[in-house]
């Protein structure tokens, strides 16, 4: 794990165990840690899909949750744009965004929000939702916080993937191996597994991660085995085959 990722993960672990958390590494703990560490007033994670569904997963406070609801109701805003364009939407001053999002910018400013920063939860074509920060003060997100926010978004994506495969995360052990070397192999292996199992990319990555975690093997090593064709994933036998 990179040093910087390790630091962000330790913040999430701290938020999970500080009395307000429930002791588990979760998206809720991630939002609380982001709120505490990034110099913002709130953070949220919304699960989204290409066919337009939005599911609030966690928010650090009521306002963060409300901002998400607003965007869904109004059908506009940085969160929806970040998902649609698969790019961060950094809005340092909502007062300058009234032409782009007339409904949302006004409504958010009425609630005292000056800046919004939305980051897609994506890895290539895998897109699971958006991580969003809000702050009362207008102004850019400082460079350090911006880099950390991108890491928070990476971790949120990984938590959603692992939730989907039912992977249990102990506090002291992070199932995420993001060492920079071998990262391309992880993405290539994901594509290979998707074909082997006949599943989509998100499920393929989820299965790859679950395999690494269960076997106590670094993700990059499992991925290298898949790419070198030393390891194949096989579809499970259908439990209730019908005629």
């Amino acid at each position: 794990m990179g040093e910087r990722t390790a630091r962000v993960f330790s913040w999430i672990a701290a938020a999970a165990t500080d009395g307000e958390g429930d002791g588990r590494i979760s998206v809720a703990a991630l939002c609380r840690a982001a709120h505490l560490r990034l110099g913002v007033d709130g953070a949220s994670v919304t699960a989204m899909s290409g066919n337009g569904t939005h599911t609030p997963v966690a928010a650090s406070g009521e306002l963060a949750a409300e901002l998400e609801e607003l965007q869904v109701t109004l059908g506009e805003g940085p969160c929806l744009a970040a998902f649609r364009f698969a790019a961060p939407m950094l809005v340092p001053d909502l007062a300058e965004a009234t032409a782009r999002w007339p409904g949302f910018a006004g409504a958010a400013r009425q609630r005292g929000v000056g800046a919004v920063f939305a980051f897609p939860l994506h890895a290539g074509t895998i897109q699971l939702g958006v991580f969003e920060l809000h702050r009362a003060a207008a102004g850019p997100l400082p460079t350090e916080a911006l880099g950390d926010a991108l890491i928070f978004a990476d971790l949120a994506l990984q938590l959603l993937l692992d939730d989907a495969s039912g992977t249990v995360r102990p506090l002291d052990r992070h199932p995420i191996d993001d060492t920079s070397r071998g990262r391309n192999a992880v993405h290539q292996a994901t594509g290979m597994i998707a074909v082997q199992l006949g599943v989509d990319m998100a499920e393929a990555l989820s299965r790859l991660r679950a395999h690494a975690f269960t076997g106590d093997t670094p993700l990059s090593e499992v991925a290298a085995d898949v790419v070198a064709r030393r390891l194949r994933f096989r579809p499970e036998v259908e439990p209730d085959e019908t005629l």
């Binding site: 990179g2 910087r4 990722t5 364009f85 698969a86 790019a87 961060p88 939407m89 950094l90 809005v91 340092p92 994506h122 890895a123 290539g124 074509t125 895998i126 850019p140 460079t143 911006l146 880099g147 991108l150 890491i151 990476d154 920079s180 070397r181 071998g182 990262r183 391309n184 993405h187 290539q188 292996a189 994901t190 594509g191 290979m192 597994i193 998707a194 074909v195 082997q196 990319m201 790419v227």
Partner: protein, 248 residues
């Protein structure tokens, strides 16, 4: 006619305001032109991720080991120094720097590389990445090549970031993150083709790029369509497998 090729290349690299501009394809073109026009055997381009690491976005050849050499530089190596200092770093002989970068030196030597020349990609005060030239023979680039390399990188950097008239840090971030994610999509699509057609990831990449070029499509889009299952690149894969290296 090198002069004519140089002039054509500058025009090509400045021409980023076209419909269907694809950042990853653009950067691949830059690496290829550098190898073609300069005394270098291979070139790779690392973009700075705001998470704090350098990521390989394009390389003139697809040898997997070579990619690892570039990736190693997220941790140590002349390209990393170039990025941090904003200065050109030129190394006539990598075997002489084992004390400073032991792993980089060992891997480069093993792969048969002797010289490295790293050029920063800089826009005003911000360094967004580095272009790195590798040579099989010792000795640095001559002065003419070094200047030309710097000029090509400068033009490409301006072209890349002025794609939509970047004035704000916000837009630089959005574009860099989009380019990095596009690279992930390409890797995923390589995996799909590798598995489906029993080719290696490099061949998969060559086929994808060949298909994109011959159909005048963006590389990132073709990759997305391979994943969505809405495009058939069997012909391009067959060409690559047959060892047909001619460009379409």
């Amino acid at each position: 006619m090198r002069e004519q090729r140089v002039a054509d290349t500058f025009v090509e690299l400045a021409d980023t305001l076209v419909a269907g501009f694809d950042a990853v394809e653009f950067l691949h073109t830059l690496t290829e032109r550098c190898v073609e026009l300069l005394d270098a055997d291979t070139a790779g381009l690392l973009l700075a991720d705001e998470r704090g690491s350098l990521r390989l976005v394009a390389a003139s050849t697809g040898q997997t080991q070579l990619l690892e050499l570039f990736q190693l530089q997220e941790e140590e190596g002349p390209c990393l120094d170039c990025y941090h200092s904003g200065q050109v770093v030129t190394l006539p002989d990598v075997s002489q720097v084992a004390g400073r970068w032991p792993r980089f030196s060992a891997m480069a030597t093993e792969l048969g590389f002797a010289g490295v020349h790293a050029i920063p990609m800089q826009l005003r005060t911000q360094i967004i990445g580095t272009l790195n030239l590798f040579r099989m023979h010792p000795n640095g680039l001559d002065e003419t090549d070094a200047k030309l390399g710097k000029a090509l990188v400068d033009v490409a950097t301006i072209g890349l970031l002025s794609e939509r008239a970047v004035r704000h840090q916000e837009m630089v971030t959005e574009q860099l993150q989009t380019a990095l994610n596009s690279r992930v999509t390409i890797e995923q699509a390589k995996g799909i083709l590798a598995e489906r057609h029993s080719v290696d990831p490099d061949q998969a990449f060559t086929a994808m790029r060949r298909h994109a070029r011959s159909h005048n499509r963006r590389l990132g889009e073709v990759a997305g369509e391979i994943i969505a299952g809405t495009v058939n690149v069997t012909d391009a894969v067959a060409d690559v497998r047959a060892g047909n290296s001619a460009r379409p």
